[in-house]
């Protein structure tokens, strides 16, 4: 823990400069491309912070899916031909810069004033691990110790998806999100997709499975599965399912539903809501994770697909 190594300083400077470029550059499309690169660099920094789980999530969701979302939106908006709104006056930009500096200074001052023996919950987390039957402490926090946050977060995802769907016109309600993908069936994209998707699914399932003991878990696995499904859709191999299909709705609520079911079972029979009886804690957690992976994969894909636009 000698002074920060040259690599760290270099990476930090690089991340900040890419972020600054993404914020300041005039053209939106290049800003989004810069943002995707920025996302990957941040994932690298998470590895340096010994947070591999977070690095995986950041790479998959933070830069991957968010990048796809912003890129497709930028492409659509760029085509719109709407006149670029005038950039704000110099005075506003100066004040904004001052606010940015103030926020940075405040946060740096706060970080520097942290107490030296840093308070941590690492010890109690590891001691309680055997009770959950899990190896990876981060997954244990997500699924056991702070299970309510994850549970509520599932409901947040459902609401976000319904919010996106609510922007559809009444005429196309229940239809398929996103424009019809016109990719030629035997082009290189379709060929590449048919080869990659099975492998990708396998990797996703593996990342999900290994999450119990090593970095990985439901979110990361689900994101890889979602990426594969998106690839298939873009390649025209598969089409986005219509919004009104009951089985799609069922999958979307399965994750949170199973979580609640197990939680309420704990309330009724076990000793507390969301408490897993020691005997089959492992089995229950696996069941929850499976349902969660399926739900998150479908939800993330449909979030990117957007509001229903066609009934065909």
């Amino acid at each position: 823990m000698i002074t920060a190594s040259l690599f760290d300083i270099g990476l930090a400077a690089l991340v900040v400069s890419v972020a600054a470029f993404a914020i300041v550059v005039r053209d939106t499309y290049s800003a989004v491309v810069a943002f995707v690169a920025y996302g990957l660099l941040v994932s690298l920094r998470w590895v340096l912070l010994h947070a591999v789980d977070v690095a995986l999530t950041e790479a998959a969701i933070g830069s991957g899916l968010t990048g796809v979302l912003l890129l497709s939106a930028a492409a659509r908006l760029r085509g719109g031909g709407a006149p670029e709104p005038a950039p704000p006056s110099v005075r506003v930009r100066a004040l904004a810069a001052a606010c940015g500096v103030a926020v940075t200074a405040g946060l740096v001052g706060a970080v520097l004033s942290f107490p030296d023996p840093a308070p941590t919950l690492a010890a109690p987390a590891t001691e309680a691990l055997p009770a959950t039957g899990l190896g990876n402490p981060v997954t244990a926090v997500l699924i056991a110790y702070r299970a309510t946050d994850t549970l509520l977060e599932k409901v947040v995802l459902v609401l976000a998806l319904l919010g996106v769907w609510s922007l559809a016109g009444d005429a196309v309600w229940g239809g398929r999100p996103g424009a019809k993908q016109r990719a030629d069936p035997d082009g290189i994209l379709a060929y590449f997709t048919r080869r990659l998707v099975p492998v990708g699914l396998l990797v996703g399932l593996y990342v999900f499975w290994v999450g119990a003991t090593h970095p990985g878990g439901a979110f990361q696995g689900a994101t890889i599965v979602a990426a594969m499904w998106l690839l298939a859709m873009m390649a025209g191999v598969a089409d986005v399912p219509p919004v009104a299909r009951p089985d799609v709705r069922a999958i979307l609520v399965a994750g949170a539903g199973v979580f609640f079911a197990v939680g309420l079972a704990g309330l009724a029979f076990g000793d507390a809501f969301l408490a897993y009886p020691a005997a089959y804690a492992k089995a229950l957690i696996i069941a929850i994770e499976i349902a969660m992976t399926a739900t998150v994969a479908v939800t993330l894909t449909l979030l990117i697909a957007g509001a229903p636009e066609r009934t065909a």
Partner: protein
Amino acid sequence: MGDVTLFGVAGAVLAGLGVYGLIASPQPLRKILALNVLGTGVFLLFGVVARRGAAAGLGADPVPQALVITGIVVAFAATALAVALTLALTRAAGSASLESDAPAVGEDPGPPR
């Protein structure tokens, strides 16, 4: 602990950049991008806190990491909703600017339901 504070400073600078972008960039899409930069900055703060809390054989305190994972997923959901809204607004109003809506006193901007 030199490099951990470096990460802290980097996170703070990213947050500052995010705030600047949020205030100064006119289009909503750029504001969404700035919000994501601000988000990553804040999550890096959690990362620094986690790293400082390394103990009991773990490289970092698992609790803040779990909070960050939940935060990233929520931030993605927010971005998705914001982008969908921006696209819907562009479709409905032609231009996705946030400003031209202040209903000046007197004119009746259409019948809300």
